[in-house]
Amino acid sequence: MPLTPLTYPGDLAHDESQPYLWTMNFGPQHPATHTTLRLVLKLEGETVVDAMPDIGYLHSGFEKIGEHLDYNQYVVVTDRMNYVSPMANNVAWHLAVEKLLGLETTRRCQYIRVIISELARISDHLLCLGAMGLDTGAFTHFIYAFNPREQICDIFEALCGARFTNSYTRVGGLMYDASPKAIQMIREFLKQIPRTFDDMERLLNRNRIFVERTRGVGVLSKAEAINRSCSGPVARASGVERDLRKDDPYLVYSDFDFDVCCAESGDCYARYLVRMGEMRESVQILRQAIENLPEGPVNIGEDARSILPRKGAVFSTIEGLISHFELVMANRGMKSPCEEVYCATEAPNGELGFYLVGDGSNRAYRARCRPPSFIHFAIFPHLIRGHTISDVVAVLGSLNIIAAELDR
């Protein structure tokens, strides 16, 4: 495979005055890449003069599969995109589908979707920060972060039976309503989690080793962040005050009182602080959502014939059975307009959007996913130029690259 680097005028790698450059292969199987991605680094001593990302090792044609599965089936594939926070992908996918079909979900469903999105955000940030600490030498931080992540998995198990690949949402609603037991577990979790955040912050915020390895490393300015299409915590750490939950409120985010966490410096340390702050804001949102969780149905009416009936109705009534088969049969099912929509959500990693083209049938004609990891990995060579090779893992960790979402 030819490894022609991205070259621009003034590029260090092609400066004639450099007499001797090393080339080093980083990945695809390296403990610090966490997933399968490859970097070819050009080194002068320990300084990285250029990096060439080589991706596609996990490409599985998710978008092609999306043209062959119907709107309810494809949610299983979205689980596998950003597998660190699958609930956020589920919500993003079905919001796009419902926007295309013109469905309005019930208020209780929207509240539960907010709850699972925010739990997914906490779980994603915990993994990202834990792994970032691990890569920069703070093993305890990783253990601190993974303990509550386990509790979030337990909550998801109580909600939908699956811990990791949840597939919890459905067109027009959810697989199951949230049980009182799950709500109680979330309440317990919200009581305990601030202590974990305190522990994590006490361990790293003023830890000299961590701060020296991250402050001033991988600096992204505000103008560059916008020019390079960054979103989410990466953009906010550079001072771009853009959060889709505030700017373009979807679901019921306009009901909640929360702050958008921003930083100015745009380095790895700022990205760490922004993610840390966002988890506390997520706890704020979760508290309000749990307290104000409305009663009522979680799915829109089954007679609308656009959402799958309850399993009980399918197995015990003829109407339920008929409407179930009407929906899952290949030439029946939901009717979508011959139109196109783009629907974006604020996923833990950044703007996760789906561009959907409907063609009248019950499956998408085109299901484009706008993956934040893909956009953020493109800025990696820019961030790492001029830093040392040990900073590669710090920058990678702060961007939170999930290779399954990167390659899809």
């Binding site: 495979m1 030819p2 022609t4 991205l6 070259t7 621009y8 991706i55 596609g56 490409h59 044609g61 978008e63 092609k64 599969i65 043209e67 062959h68 926007k99 295309l100 013109g102 560059e224 916008i226 020019n227 390079r228 299409s229 960054c230 979103s231 771009v240 853009r242 889709l244 700017d247 373009d248 011959c338 139109e339 196109e340 929509v341 783009y342 974006a344 703007e351 959007g353 561009y355 083209v357 063609d359 009248g360 004609y365 085109r366 484009r368 706008r370 893909f374 956009i375 990995f377 493109a378 390659d407 899809r408």
Partner: protein, 168 residues
């Protein structure tokens, strides 16, 4: 929908049509005006964020006149407005001007469109395949590419070890 902006853009670029669906504004632009429109939107209309570039293959689509439809999703980071710019291109050799000179972020997404649909972006600094191997010969998100069968690993030709010479 920001009607004022749309009216101004329509006056500035005759040949553009505007439509709306579920609150999203779309501009359909001919290929020769595409780069000028994107530049106008970015430099003077405040659409400073390129959210995504993608493409749709309309080969089997009902009533479709053109083969490929490019999608440029733009956003304004100050007002959080969104705008979709569509541009239709056809076989053979579909090509549009690259937007990398406007947004650095267009680099990888344009490479992905090239990889998956075979639409070339003239003026792109590094138009290579990004997800698929360099030796791959097709563009798999085109509608004439099947879901299963072609290009899969078990269909690749197998290189067999030469038979050892028979012992005398």
């Amino acid at each position: 929908m920001n009607t004022e902006l749309v009216q101004q853009v329509l006056q500035l670029f005759p040949g553009i049509t505007a439509s709306e669906f579920r609150g999203g504004t779309r501009l359909v632009v001919p290929v020769d005006l595409l780069h000028g429109l994107l530049e106008e939107l970015k430099q003077r209309r405040g659409f400073d964020l390129l959210v995504d570039i993608t493409c749709v293959d309309y080969l089997e689509y009902r009533d479709a006149k053109d083969r490929f439809g490019l999608v440029y999703l733009l956003a304004n980071t100050e007002t959080a407005e969104r705008l979709t710019v569509r541009c239709f291109v056809n076989d053979p050799e579909p090509s549009v001007p690259s937007a990398v000179d406007l947004w650095e972020g267009a680099n990888w997404v344009e490479r992905e469109v090239w990889d998956m649909f075979g639409i070339s972006f003239s003026g792109h600094p590094d138009l290579r395949r990004i997800l698929l191997p360099e030796a791959f010969t097709a563009h798999p998100l085109r509608k004439d590419y099947p879901l299963q069968g072609r290009g899969e690993r078990h269909n690749f030709s197998v290189v067999r070890r030469a038979e050892p010479p028979a012992k005398a």
